[in-house]
Symmetry: C2
Subunit: 248 residues, 2 copies
């Protein structure tokens, strides 16, 4: 583990309130590792041995069934994933693969479980983290069930623009095919839909997005804090998406 990494981890909402002793114990069992791009870190169904903390690089969480596959989220620094499985000591529900070279801290799940039994502050942090994760997935499910493809895209673009500081132009943080899968559609459909959003105040050039008419786009997207977040509690909370991770 590198010297600058410890404070970074310590600063995460999940770890910042715990006792110093607990934190040290936790870190003693932890180790860091660097993985190449495109590596399958965990496979759904595997037993949950380690909580993963992404220090560098992006990690995709995805699920597969019957030969099909879909992206559930993308985690970026500094975020954690598969907390829930570790806590439950249950099999992972999702697989994870690196999208690029990634540095990851691995914390043994058993240490985690032992410590929140002893450190109430840490237990409370875990509660908050999980509640945030839960709400993030509920939002995602709401979007899938209540919005059409175009509406999902439109609100995604709007969200990205807001996260980047309300800028009218930004670069997509992930590949389009991944974004398509995350939004529950095919790459072809995303491609066509993006072009059709021309009429709704969006211009796309490669991975660059330019919002030319925010009002028109909003009229289509109808952004809603109960779907698009964030939790008022803090932007760092449960934003589960290409912009930020930390999914359990």
């Amino acid at each position: 583990m590198r010297p600058h990494e410890l404070p970074e981890i310590r600063h995460l909402p999940l770890f910042r309130d715990m006792l110093q002793g607990s934190f040290e114990t936790l870190m003693q069992g932890a180790y860091a590792q660097t993985f190449p791009a495109g590596l399958e870190l965990i496979r759904q169904g595997d037993p949950a041995d380690f909580l993963h903390v992404v220090m560098e690089g992006q990690v995709e969480l995805h699920a597969q069934w019957a030969g099909r596959e879909c992206t559930m989220a993308v985690v970026r620094p500094v975020g954690t994933f598969i907390l829930a499985a570790c806590i439950r000591d249950a099999p992972y529900l999702m697989s994870a693969r690196t999208l690029e070279r990634a540095r990851i801290i691995l914390i043994p799940a058993s240490d985690l479980r032992a410590i929140f039994h002893r450190d109430t502050e840490f237990a409370v942090s875990v509660i908050n983290e999980l509640a945030g994760c839960y709400r993030a997935v509920v939002r995602h499910a709401k979007g899938l069930k209540l919005r059409t493809s175009r509406e999902r895209i439109a609100s995604y673009l709007l969200r990205q623009s807001v996260l980047a500081g309300n800028v009218p132009s930004f670069v997509l943080p992930v590949e389009k095919r991944l974004l398509a899968s995350y939004l529950g559609m095919t790459p072809e459909n995303l491609s066509r839909a993006l072009k059709s959003l021309d009429a709704e105040g969006v211009r796309v050039d490669g991975s660059r997005v330019i919002i030319t008419d925010r009002a028109k786009l909003s009229a289509l997207a109808r952004p809603d804090p109960l779907i698009d977040g964030p939790d008022p509690e803090g932007a760092s909370a449960g934003v589960a998406l290409p912009p930020v991770g930390r999914l359990g």
Copy 2:
């Protein structure tokens, strides 16, 4: 509150391990109320004031956006809902309405939050509950993204049959229109799909379902513990569906 209700609540996974004193404090602020059928208990966006515990009757959790609406889950006795919003002190992401006459215990969210800061055992129970809820929604989202309508129906029927004790015949626990919405389709589509499942080993007569060829149905549904549950941890864990609730 009725005399038999206290032990029932105490016996829930969420409350069974906490200190007796904590439990008593929690119950002092709580009160029970009976609501008629079809009543909107909470509306999405409202501040989370009370954790709800369903003692009798079914409660539907649903979401709405842009005039559309969908069912997210059904909670039945004895289960709790909107735990996550209470913990976060954030607005509800879902609305709740009674499907029939229902008796509900209301526990002030502030008491809840105060107590898990003091009672680690309770905090741990909350962690487990939330982790289960989280995993339940992830499963639901996986089903929506990875399976077609027919596959979702098929696996739902199989799951119900298993929950009822692997019986070949059972009665649907909820109205079909609600089931359709829960499974992410229209009532018309559900109706037609159910009839078409005739060829896959299912006969439906009103709300009665008869599985005539389990193998054939399984071949279509391809049931998977990573989608259909349950968590190995215990059947009572995160089964979020028409069969059982306790969603945060």
